[in-house]
């Protein structure tokens, strides 16, 4: 049912958003163009991040280092239902959105978007945020030096979304 509903989300949202724009009498086309212009720039800005990360992860894999890591972690992670290949993504996600996106694209490309591991990493990429980056930007902006327990909460939430992604993807697509 979860996947059946998911089919409707994008067409539904598109309809609601455009109809709301029409109802509020805004120049829908011009507004779309101005937003899309910015979108183009955002997309171009991700190029260096993706190149940096995909080069690193590609070197890591084709050298055989990835296979070594998977071999070492397999006995620990596989009984828990966690494919070891997603570990670099889980580590990178709280630190850099662009870098994590690079790893996710690599996994989706290598294992296929509809494989279990592809679905898992897609969900992981969609779920948690770049916690440490957000903390440093927001606290830094107002000159806070002692973060108190904020990083612990952030990390706790990241670990929770990771574990629930593994469980939910297993239940829904398994």
């Amino acid at each position: 049912m979860v996947t059946e509903l998911a089919k409707w989300v994008i067409p539904g949202l598109l309809f609601v958003i455009l109809a709301a724009g029409f109802y509020r009498k805004i120049p829908v086309y011009e507004v779309f163009i101005s937003g899309a212009q910015e979108g183009f720039e955002v997309a171009v800005k991700t190029i260096p991040y993706l190149v940096a990360m995909l080069v690193a992860i590609n070197v890591f894999r084709s050298s055989g280092a990835m296979a070594e890591m998977v071999g070492i972690l397999q006995p620990v992670l596989s009984p828990l239902g966690v494919p070891p290949e997603v570990l670099p993504h889980a580590l990178m996600r709280p630190l850099s959105g662009g870098a994590a996106l690079g790893i996710a694209s690599d996994i989706i490309h290598t294992h296929g978007p509809d494989s279990m591991i592809g679905l898992l990493v897609s969900t992981m990429q969609g779920t948690s945020d770049t916690t440490f980056y957000v903390l440093s930007v927001y606290f830094g902006a107002v000159g806070i030096k002692r973060y108190r327990y904020a990083p612990i909460t952030g990390l706790l939430a990241d670990i929770t979304t990771f574990i629930s992604s593994v469980i939910i993807v297993g239940l829904v697509f398994g």
Partner: protein, 199 residues
């Protein structure tokens, strides 16, 4: 930290390749990786351009306001230390609503205003207040409705149903947000008790 991880992937890759006697694989992997990075970015231009266009329409049509109706009661309830009519409350509500809709460029300015307003209520300028910790917990573990970028990547690599992960994403982020709220409340209570004074 990103530096450490990136260096680790690169250096351990080169060392392991040398150990396996195939250093030449590194050169090939670098060129392939870079090419793949640019190709993926070019593919992403399509969906990000389109989606940010649509989201601009959503913003102008006032969709953020609709979401604020749902967010307002939650914020009132979680930020008891902040007066409801204080400018910080409005900025927090706006930031969270924009985050839920995935409007990153609307969320960040509102979030920075929220932090500046919360800082005005802070007795100790260099130390985070409980309200700030709660705000950032909500901000980093927020429900996500449409993870557009990853849907774009899935479509790019030939997924039969690129949007199939929307359901799992909403569920996992809802659980994450619940745990963030509970964890924040627990840590706040624990810190207050340990200090023996209200702050």
């Amino acid at each position: 930290m990103v530096n450490v991880l990136w260096l680790f992937l690169m250096l351990s890759g080169i060392v392991v390749a040398a150990y396996h006697g195939k250093v030449d694989a590194v050169t090939k992997a670098v060129l392939e990786g870079a090419k793949f990075g640019v190709e993926t970015s070019l593919g992403l231009i399509a969906i990000i351009t389109f989606w940010l266009g649509v989201m601009r329409v959503a913003q102008e049509a006032g969709l953020v306001k609709v979401v604020t109706w749902f967010v307002r009661p939650l914020v009132r309830c979680l930020f008891r230390g902040v007066p409801p009519d204080h400018p910080a409350t409005g900025a927090i509500i706006l930031n969270l609503s924009a985050n839920i809709l995935g409007l990153g460029n609307a969320a960040t300015p509102a979030g920075l205003i929220a932090m500046r307003e919360l800082q005005k209520l802070n007795p100790n300028a260099e130390e985070a207040t409980p309200a700030m910790c709660t705000f950032l917990a909500l901000n980093t573990a927020c429900i996500t409705l449409v993870p557009t970028t990853v849907i774009g990547i899935r479509a790019l690599y030939g997924s039969r149903e690129p949007a199939s992960i929307i359901g799992t994403t909403i569920l996992a982020t809802a659980i994450g947000m619940t745990v963030a709220i509970a964890g924040d409340a627990l840590l706040r209570w624990w810190h207050t008790r340990r200090r023996g004074a209200k702050w």
